[in-house]
């Protein structure tokens, strides 16, 4: 299989592109992985940093909540906060604690969870803690310390609280005397201060981030859930830090992709264009010309100063030269075929008509316009009974010529002939088929005129001949016995013999012409050939004996076939009499034997004499019309002879006896042939006929039973 170079180039290009794209993908995947690792590292670092800062920030609050609630003064304060001493305590200790511990709000509740004191740092509103008694009791139901976030009118507030106990109860096992809360508001200032510690931006978000941020932006985000009173997050602290190294990795990757698209793809396209334009296209043109033998497409290529241009120029010259010679030869052949007077039609192996010469158009269509399309189907219909279509198929399959016979087309008679076209005579492969058609109208009418003339002339000849012969016979019978003059007797006998011979000749001519014109009808009936032969022996036995010859009849022993044949009895008799009289004429001593050889489906009669025999050189002429004439045509210098031995013809001249016999035998479905003949020893002829019961075997039927009659 030939793979076009063009396709190879395309495959190469695609492969290159795939390799480049694959490499790029791997690189990019590798970088992404690297970026992810880096991101994780930065995130972990941020987490660590955040935890440290956050703890540092939270420690003072934890301390104040813890320390202040073990204070006996605080216990006293919760019991009666409105006393001057207690008010003083609050102002001196609690208010200052705001700045000491850098918290924003402080709230104190008594044992009944009633708010008894509140104070706020400057810059922050001194709001009530928005917690109900139940919420406060719930916050400390299980443990004495609490840490949670709540939303207030000031914003999100981190609360740390503890139950209040006397200093002698560090285990907080006694009933609580009150509740103490410190709060830090997560306002912008706080977040900014936290952000500057973490070198990040700190924001509050109502929910956790749905997914990780796009790492290509170079931002590492850390999200910290802030739990409410019930433990569920009430807000999220989001710490975003910038990681330029990650961003750079992505930028580099994108740059690579851009470079690939901008540089590699155009480069490949350029290479492809170059290969197609300078290699594959010229190759295509050249290979196309090599295939079609058409130098036309080479024209452009020939002008190019490349190796392909040189090749194209050489090829172009070669094919142009070739084409001139070829078209010259083709034109001459076409002209020759168009000039011949026989219709010539050619088909290709697919039965498409490829050529119809002028004669064929004239004969078949009375129309010589070459533009007229002709198809095999049309020809088949036109020639009807000749079954052209079937014969063409048959001819191409069997690689054999077929004569189709004649058919009448309007006022014409046309004869057709079919032959397969092969490169080597009689051998496959078959290239197509030739159909020859010939106008035989003139030939036929001439033959017909000749035959009719012959027939009428023969009839007209017979009347005076009958009179001559009849009168001569009467003279012989009535007058001659009374005459004593032997010369006169001899003369009248010669007249009678000659007239008889002449009549026989005329009869032969008549038979021949009528057989050839198909005017003789054969009436096939069942004939007992054994009885027929016995009758012939009775009838002609004495005639042979007069010449000293014995006429015998025998049946081949062991033959158990039928002696009943299918034949026209009068014609069969005529053939046998012809064979017998020939044998009698050419046998001077010995015998003539008629031997019947009956078989299951045919019967054969051998007529054997012990006479002169026929020279082998003449065997092939025996059943031909006018053997002497043919002999003379074949051998110009041969002496013209009417020697009856030459034709083995008892009519002494026409040479039609065996020709007529042959036509008669074939006419009734039998055959006649020379079995053997040797000069000086004798001759055997045989005739064969189908037995009456056998199935009629059609001539030339390939499916028929094999029979000697075929």
């Amino acid at each position: 299989m030939v793979i076009k170079t063009q396709y190879r180039v395309i495959i190469l290009m695609l492969t290159l592109l795939a390799v480049a794209a694959g490499g790029l993908y791997l690189l990019s995947a590798n970088q992404k992985q690297h970026a992810q690792v880096l991101y994780q590292e930065i995130a972990d670092e941020n987490q660590r940093l955040f935890a440290a800062v956050y703890r540092l920030d939270g420690d003072p609050q934890a301390t104040i909540t813890s320390d202040y609630t073990y204070w006996d003064d605080m216990v006293t304060f919760t019991k009666n906060p409105s006393t001057v001493a207690n008010q003083k305590f609050a102002h001196e200790n609690l208010d200052t604690a705001l700045s000491t511990y850098s918290v924003d709000n402080i709230w104190v509740f008594n044992a009944s969870a009633k708010q008894i004191y509140k104070v706020a740092s400057s810059g922050h509103a001194n709001i009530d803690l928005p917690l109900s008694t139940q919420q406060i009791q719930a916050a400390f139901a299980k443990k004495p310390l609490a840490h949670f976030f709540i939303h207030t009118s000031q914003g999100l507030v981190e609360l740390r609280g503890a139950t209040i106990h006397p200093s002698n109860d560090p285990g907080r096992t006694t009933p609580e005397q009150g509740y103490f809360f410190v709060g830090r508001v997560y306002d912008l200032a706080f977040r900014q201060s936290l952000g500057s510690d973490l070198k990040s931006q700190v924001d509050l978000a109502p929910t956790a981030p749905m997914h990780l941020p796009d790492p290509s932006t170079g931002t590492v985000i850390l999200s910290q859930a802030l739990a409410g009173l019930d433990g569920q997050p009430v807000s999220y602290l989001q710490v975003s830090s910038d990681a330029p190294s990650i961003r750079e990795i992505y930028q580099l990757s994108n740059q690579l992709l851009r470079n690939f698209v901008v540089i590699v793809v155009p480069a490949l396209l350029l290479l492809f264009w170059f290969l197609t334009g300078f290699v594959t296209q010229p190759l295509n043109i050249i290979s196309g010309t090599l295939k079609t033998h058409d130098p036309e497409p080479l024209d452009e290529l020939e002008k190019k100063h490349t190796e392909f241009g040189q090749i194209a120029a050489l090829l172009g010259d070669y094919f142009r030269q070739n084409r001139i010679q070829l078209s010259d030869a083709h034109a001459r052949l076409r002209a020759s075929i168009n000039s011949i007077n026989i219709g010539f039609i050619m088909t290709d192996v697919n039965r498409n008509v490829t050529m119809v010469n002028d004669a064929a158009r004239r004969i078949l269509f009375n129309d010589i316009r070459r533009s007229r399309e002709v198809t095999l189907a049309e020809l088949n219909q036109l020639l009807g009974k000749l079954q052209l279509d079937r014969t063409v198929t048959n001819s191409m399959t069997t690689i054999a010529s077929h004569s189709l016979g004649e058919v009448q087309l309007g006022d014409k008679f046309v004869r057709a002939f079919v032959a397969p076209v092969t490169e080597v005579a009689g051998k496959a492969p078959v290239l197509g088929c030739i159909i020859l058609v010939e106008d035989v109208t003139l030939e036929r009418s001439l033959k017909r005129a000749r035959d009719e003339f012959f027939s009428i002339a023969s009839h007209e000849l017979r009347t005076p001949l009958t009179v001559i012969m009849g009168n001569a016979a009467m003279i012989n019978e009535e007058i001659v016995p009374k005459v004593k003059d032997d010369t006169l007797k001899g003369m009248t006998k010669d007249i009678f013999d000659s007239s008889q011979r002449l009549i026989q000749m005329v009869n032969d001519f008549l038979d021949t012409s009528r057989l050839e014109q198909g005017k003789i009808k054969f009436e096939l009936e069942t004939v007992d050939v054994a009885k027929l032969l016995q009758d012939l022996v009775k009838q002609y036995g004495h005639m042979a004996e007069e010449q000293g010859i014995q006429l015998k009849y025998e049946v081949v022993s062991g033959g158990n076939g039928s002696t009943k044949v299918k034949a026209d009895v009068a014609k069969l008799q005529q053939v046998l009499i012809n064979l017998l009289s020939n044998a009698v004429t050419f046998t001077h001593k010995g015998s003539i034997t008629m031997r019947l050889d009956p078989h299951a489906d045919y019967a054969r009669i051998f007529v054997t004499d012990t006479g002169e025999g026929i020279p082998e050189a003449r065997h092939h002429l025996l059943f031909k019309k006018f053997q002497q004439a043919e002999e003379n045509i074949l051998s110009r210098n041969a002496t013209r002879t009417l020697d009856p031995g030459a034709a083995r013809d008892t009519t002494h001249g026409t040479g039609l006896g065996l020709y007529i016999s042959k036509m008669l035998m074939e006419g009734m479905g039998g055959l006649i042939r020379l079995e053997s003949s040797e000069v000086g020893k004798g001759t055997t002829f045989s005739i064969t006929l189908p037995v009456a019961t056998s199935v009629k075997i059609k001539k030339g039927d390939p499916n028929g039973k094999k029979s000697p009659l075929n």
Binding site: H459, T463, L465, T466, V467, G470, A473, M474, K519
Partner: protein, 125 residues
């Protein structure tokens, strides 16, 4: 009583020849060279047998035969076709029209014709 035979044939040579042989055989032979005359004679003399040619001018022998067989007076008279036209189709037609037999002149000597006629006359007695 001598038998009467009528020969209808347009050729005088043929007619004369058969006249001779029939007279040798002591058969009374009447002849006619014209088909129409032959028809007239046939009904006039009522011969015992008619010998009839086929190829004749004016009227074809088969037409003569058809008329003979169509006429009550002559239809019983046996007719032997005596011709030189060996045309099977016409021989068959003649037999179909009622001819007793068909003889080709050139295939039989005059004597054989006489013998055939005698045989025919014998069977018609």
């Amino acid at each position: 009583m001598a038998k009467k035979v009528l020969l209808i044939d347009d050729d005088p040579l043929i007619v004369r020849m058969y006249e001779r042989i029939f007279s040798f055989a002591n058969i009374d032979i009447k002849t006619s060279l014209m088909p129409t005359d032959g028809l007239a004679q046939a009904s006039a003399i009522k011969p015992d047998l008619i010998l009839l040619d086929i190829m004749m001018p004016d009227m074809d022998g088969l037409e003569v035969l058809r008329r003979l067989k169509g006429d009550d007076v002559t239809k019983a008279i046996p007719v032997i076709i005596l011709t030189n036209l060996s045309d099977e189709a016409r021989s068959k037609e003649a037999i179909k029209l009622g001819a007793a037999s068909v003889m080709v002149k050139s295939d039989f000597s005059p004597k054989q014709v006489v013998e055939k006629v005698q045989a025919a006359l014998g069977t018609t007695k």
